[in-house]
């Protein structure tokens, strides 16, 4: 080896160490089957066989450890073929990996051999590492590459805080920025947020109903919440509760994560059967809130058994085949739970990229699998239906319960060849099936990538996805599926924190609701005083529930969703408002980048959302709601005094709306306008300047793209 290449190797090695000490970058470990242990007879054997050129079953037979995360021949081979592993397995440093030298040393090392016994007759002629000490030092490298606590930035400034809060909440506010800066640690903030009491939706939706419409079906006063009849009209209270939670709730992180989950585990009240189940919808959202920092496996189970999901995707009263009448079980949930809620249609590497075979993606399942799964999800019904009757209406709030009579008790084949024995109960089948899904290697990358897309950036690097997926696979204490660990990994990752400085396409288009909430939170939108809600509630049980009144903007709630293209739990279908792989046409770099939220950036949505924001700005009151009790109001009273000095004003606005990153160009343009000799005003000039500055920022690409 010449000097130059040795130098390069040294640089490579140094980089490896640097990366590994800072983050959970992909480094090769001797724990090839990823079960948390390095064993000679599994990991060592796998490496040796691989170096002998074995593949397929010959590679992995009897060599996969218990609880291995990597367990198929393909996964093992993919891992062993990574550049990182190829480098690492060149143990004696002769620029080549050989079974009878490098492989032998590795397996000896894993057997615990040391000194001469480790290297005897196993060092090649042109080796650059020839002593046992050097070799051990090399092989122990990966011991130092376990996830380490990420160092907090020394000075967490307000710009850092605002950026973080844009990703982790429904928008930063003056107060929340100050608080995070004071806390001085993202980690502490995350910990506090995860411990904050949960702002559940059902109770508040019911209270809203009781307050505004306390009548039961017979028109008599309701004495007890159990007398509440689920109804479409309650959608008003459900939405009001959601807006209250996302604008003013203390559990911001949880609310933001639950909202992201609601776009993965989609239930929508668009179909008739759910329109009239508004309390059921609120209860479903509570399920997402409950498990936002819990375990994915529990979330999957509660989602599966929630009657809203049961109605939406047909598990409710799905029954075993009746071959006489050519009836098969409903395949709807079987398909979508696999395609959308867990593993997706193609096998993935841990970093979320496709595993290819002859250049083609590999399906995770086929129609046969769907049919097998459809038989699993049979025999479930409302919890409060008389056990003898299969039909009849029931509770939209209680988890479904099994009725064995309607459950398919034949044998079923699941993913990766697992088999459910015949004659198991509906419950036992369900438990084993959800375990089977949960343990599929796709779940980590599939779910992690989508959560990153919802919170941080449309195009995470594979390395970033891989780091988060590893946290999904193992939270550090050997637990798989810990969503708290996933959320921490997403938000603390170097890419989330510093990606905007390093990656030209980093970030995402703010979806319409986030475009609104960010602004509404920054200026503390308050419910109107008369109603105590954002929306006016005008009649009970039979009329309209029409008005949201922000400033003097009148419209109704269903219309708001239609105008901006988005309302919570109102997606057009189980495929959400947009698809994770959507790429708009005409997009620069279109062959690599996706931008899901652009699917909603049509002319009418762009105009409607912009106009809505403008109305809210121009009708905002200078002082808190005085003489205007019928309207929800935004509060510019804190900021408008700053308009004496354009820079002071823009500094403040940049802080809460742009994470302190207002470009010089944007600043120059707005300042020019504010200083225009023809600047006219209606109320008072400071307020009008404030309004114009805000309006111009909100329509700027700098605001629209969250970085």
């Amino acid at each position: 080896m010449n000097k130059r290449s040795r130098h390069i190797q040294l640089i490579f090695f140094t980089c490896l160490l640097l990366i590994s000490s800072n983050s959970h970058a992909l480094v090769c470990s001797l724990d090839v089957d990823d079960n948390g242990q390095k064993d000679a007879l599994t990991d060592g054997l796998l490496i040796l066989r691989h170096l002998f050129g074995l593949s397929g079953a010959a590679l992995t037979q009897n060599a996969i450890g218990a609880n291995a995360q990597r367990n198929t021949p393909r996964q093992i081979a993919n891992y062993l073929n990574t550049v990182e592993c190829q480098q690492f397995f060149d143990v004696d440093g002769n620029q080549s990996t050989d079974a009878l030298t490098d492989g032998l040393i590795i397996i000896r090392k894993l057997f615990g051999l040391k000194g001469d016994a480790l290297i005897k007759n196993a060092i090649s002629k042109n080796a650059t590492r020839v002593s046992a000490t050097k070799i051990i030092e090399w092989l122990d490298v990966d011991n130092r590459q376990q996830p380490e606590p990420k160092p907090e930035p020394e000075n967490l400034n307000s710009a850092d805080a605002a950026r973080f809060l844009t990703q982790a909440t429904f928008g930063p506010t003056d107060e929340s920025i100050n608080k995070l800066v004071e806390t001085g640690s993202y980690k502490t903030w995350l910990k506090q947020q995860m411990a904050t009491p949960i702002g559940y939706q059902l109770k508040s939706t019911q209270d809203y109903w009781l307050k505004n419409c306390p009548l039961n079906r017979d028109g008599k006063l309701i004495n007890h919440p159990s007398e509440i009849v689920d109804t479409w009209e309650a959608n008003h209270g459900r939405h009001n509760t959601w807006w209250q939670s996302v604008l003013h709730g203390d559990d911001q992180l949880r609310q933001r994560v639950a909202f992201a989950l609601s776009q993965i585990f989609v239930v929508s009240d668009k179909p008739q059967m759910l329109q009239d189940s508004q309390f059921g919808m609120a209860s479903y959202y509570d399920t997402l809130l409950k498990h936002s920092f819990g375990n994915y496996r529990d979330l999957l189970e509660d989602v599966t058994l929630h009657p809203a999901m049961g109605l939406y995707l047909g598990t409710l009263r799905n029954q075993k085949a009746d071959t006489e009448r050519n009836i098969r079980p409903d395949e709807n949930y079987a398909r979508e739970v696999l395609q959308l809620f867990s593993i997706g249609v193609h096998e993935l590497n841990i970093n979320g990229t496709l595993i290819l075979e002859n250049g083609q993606p590999i399906p995770t399942y086929d129609q046969q699998t769907i049919q097998e799964f459809s038989r699993v999800f049979t025999g479930w019904n409302y919890a409060d239906v008389n056990w003898k009757t299969w039909i009849g209406n029931g509770s939209r709030l209680l988890p479904m319960i099994p009725n064995e009579q309607f459950h398919d008790r034949n044998e079923k084949e699941l993913l990766n060849g697992a088999v459910l024995a015949a004659n198991q109960s509906a419950r036992a089948d369900l438990d084993a099936t959800l375990d089977n899904i949960f343990n599929h290697p796709n779940v980590g990358p599939f779910i992690s990538k989508q959560l990153i897309q919802r919170l941080v950036t449309s195009n995470p690097t594979p390395a970033y996805v891989g780091r988060v997926a590893r946290a999904f696979n193992n939270n550090g204490n050997g637990i798989r599926g810990d969503l708290a660990a996933v959320v921490n990994a997403i938000l603390l990752d170097d890419e989330a924190r510093n990606g905007h400085k390093k990656i030209a396409y980093f970030g995402k288009l703010k979806e319409p609701l986030l475009r609104l909430t960010h602004f509404f939170r920054a200026f503390d939108l308050q419910p109107n005083i008369k109603e105590g809600s954002f929306w006016e509630h005008v009649s009970c049980g039979r009329g309209e529930y029409p008005a949201y009144v922000i400033g003097h903007t009148w419209s109704n709630l269903p219309k708001l969703g239609k105008e901006i293209g988005q309302a919570v739990l109102r997606a057009p279908s189980v495929f959400n408002f947009y698809r994770p792989d959507y790429t708009p046409s005409g997009m620069p770099g279109k062959n690599t980048l996706v931008a899901p939220e652009f699917q909603l950036a049509t002319e009418n949505f762009v105009i409607n959302t912009t106009n809505l924001l403008n109305y809210s700005i121009y009708w905002a009151k200078p002082t808190a709601g005085v003489n205007d009790e019928g309207h929800s109001w935004l509060d510019f009273s804190q900021v408008s005094p700053l308009a004496n000095n354009a820079d002071n004003l823009l500094n403040h606005l940049s802080r809460v709306l742009l994470s302190d990153t207002m470009s010089d160009q944007l600043r120059t343009i707005i300042k020019r306008h504010l200083a225009d000799p023809g600047f006219q005003h209606h109320d008072n000039i400071k307020l009008d300047k404030t309004r114009d500055a805000i309006a111009l920022i909100l329509v700027s690409p700098e605001y629209l793209i969250q970085q």
Partner: protein, 466 residues
């Protein structure tokens, strides 16, 4: 399109990435010019024609939309569909009583009888002619069959989806070609969507224009009031800022595009002639089709000779409660198509467009299983589609309605244990689309560039457009 042009385009796109938004806009113009120059054969078109795509999201159950009435076939159908079978006496007979439309479709049946509507039977997503044998050997079978999103993508583009890579849709590619037939100065594309962004209308160059069912509003920033001029100028300056961030410049590009297009469209719509044809305001499809009629009514003001419209409605994924839900959905479709054809007659009387110049066709990602799950049906493959308008060879069923037989020679899921009646289509969507494109005026030379799988089929035209 030649490789050379493709290279040029890539170069432009590269430049756009470096140069930011203003370069990007310039690039769009250049691309438009380029496409116009190339497609000059279309710039002399004098007549008016348009296509209206009615997309039924979720997979329409064609087997309950059109049912055989001949006794042996009806018996087979009834035996399979059981409680979900449409009673024979309720069917609306066509074709000498051999078949019947669902009872929710009286207007469609009338149009059929008036030869203003045809059925294109047994059609679906195919890459090549497919038999049970080639299916079993997995010979060029569309991937991810029975998945909504994947089949919808292939239906609309002819390609299996590949994240991050745009496969333009065949409507968008038609628009790329026919754009030069239109004389518009505001960058208004031939493609209007009433139902959000869709792949079908996504072109290499063309970006679809989204309009709401009730039309389009003005940007509030564009008041002409004198005291707002300075703010307007600031807005314009923000929209000309250079950004090297691809998402920022894309969003800026969309807002800029929107400003230009929307003003013209709104102006034209504000002056549009009154339409008296009735559209049920509670019918989601009818509301969109009403706006399509309005947009057609101003096609001269907008300089349009060729247009492609997209409307859609969801909830066709009838896994449960199908008897009631599907009846409601078909009634919606019936009302929508019926009202729309009436409004075309009204436009005909005004001399703006005619039933002959507008062809409407249905689309849906797949048909459904012939077997049921008790109160619904699951994802299938072959389906029947409806085409309406004066130019259609109406009053006919084009293609063969498959036998109502489970586990027969066309039952694709015979492979997966118990057969379920997921039929392999006889005709491909490429053939269906090419027939429509040819009618619209796309040249024989261009058609294969738009429909990637057409080369695998010997029959290039299904004949339902004369």
């Amino acid at each position: 399109m030649s490789n050379h042009i493709n290279q040029q385009r890539r170069k432009f796109i590269k430049m756009a990435m470096v140069g930011g938004a203003s370069t990007m806009l310039a690039t769009q113009n250049k691309l438009n010019l380029m496409s116009s120059a190339m497609a000059s054969e279309y710039s002399t078109m004098n007549d008016y024609k348009s296509l209206v795509c009615i997309y039924l999201r979720g997979g329409n159950d064609a087997f309950n939309m059109l049912v055989p009435r001949v006794s042996s076939e009806y018996t087979n159908y009834q035996k399979t569909r059981q409680k979900m079978a449409i009673p024979k006496s309720n069917l609306l007979p066509i074709a000498n009583g051999q078949y019947g439309f669902h009872p929710s479709m009286p207007l469609i049946r009338n149009l059929y009888n008036q030869q203003q509507l045809a059925v294109v039977a047994n059609t679906g997503v195919l890459f090549r002619p497919t038999t049970l044998n080639s299916f079993r050997n997995n010979h060029l079978i569309p991937p991810d069959l029975f998945s909504h999103s994947h089949q919808m993508d292939i239906w609309q583009t002819g390609y299996a989806p590949n994240p991050g890579i745009i496969r333009p849709g065949w409507g968008g590619l038609i628009a790329d070609k026919l754009n030069s037939a239109n004389q518009t100065n505001a960058g208004i594309p031939p493609t209007f969507t009433l139902s959000g962004t869709n792949l079908w209308q996504t072109g290499e160059i063309t970006r679809q224009l989204g309009v709401g069912s009730s039309g389009i509003k003005k940007f509030r920033f564009f008041s002409e009031k004198k005291w707002e001029l300075s703010r307007r100028r600031a807005f314009e300056e923000i929209m000309q800022m250079n950004s090297s961030h691809p998402l920022q410049s894309q969003m800026q590009h969309i807002i800029n595009d929107t400003r230009g297009r929307v003003g013209e469209v709104k102006l034209a719509l504000d002056q549009s002639p009154e339409l008296t044809s009735e559209f049920d305001s509670n019918n989601r499809l009818a509301k969109q089709l009403r706006m399509v009629a309005k947009l057609i009514s101003v096609r001269e003001q907008l300089g349009m000779k060729r247009q492609l419209f997209f409307v859609s409605a969801g909830s066709w994924d009838t896994h449960s409660n199908q008897v009631k839900d599907h009846a409601d959905l078909l009634a919606m479709l019936d009302g929508g198509i019926g009202s729309f054809q009436n409004s075309l007659q009204e436009l005909d009387a005004m001399g703006i467009a005619s039933t002959n110049s507008v062809t409407t066709f249905t689309a849906s990602e797949f048909g459904r299983t012939l077997t049921s799950n008790g109160d619904g049906t699951d994802h299938g493959w072959a389906s029947h589609y409806l085409v309406s308008g004066g130019a259609v060879q109406g009053g006919l069923i084009h293609g063969n309605i498959p036998a109502m037989e489970i586990g027969g020679e066309n039952d694709a899921t015979g492979e997966y244990g118990t057969p379920a009646g997921r039929f392999i289509p006889e005709y491909s969507v490429d053939q269906y689309g090419a027939t429509l494109a040819r009618w619209l005026g796309v040249s024989e030379a261009d058609i294969p560039t738009i429909f990637p799988n057409l080369k695998n089929f010997s029959q290039k035209d299904l004949g339902f457009m004369g």
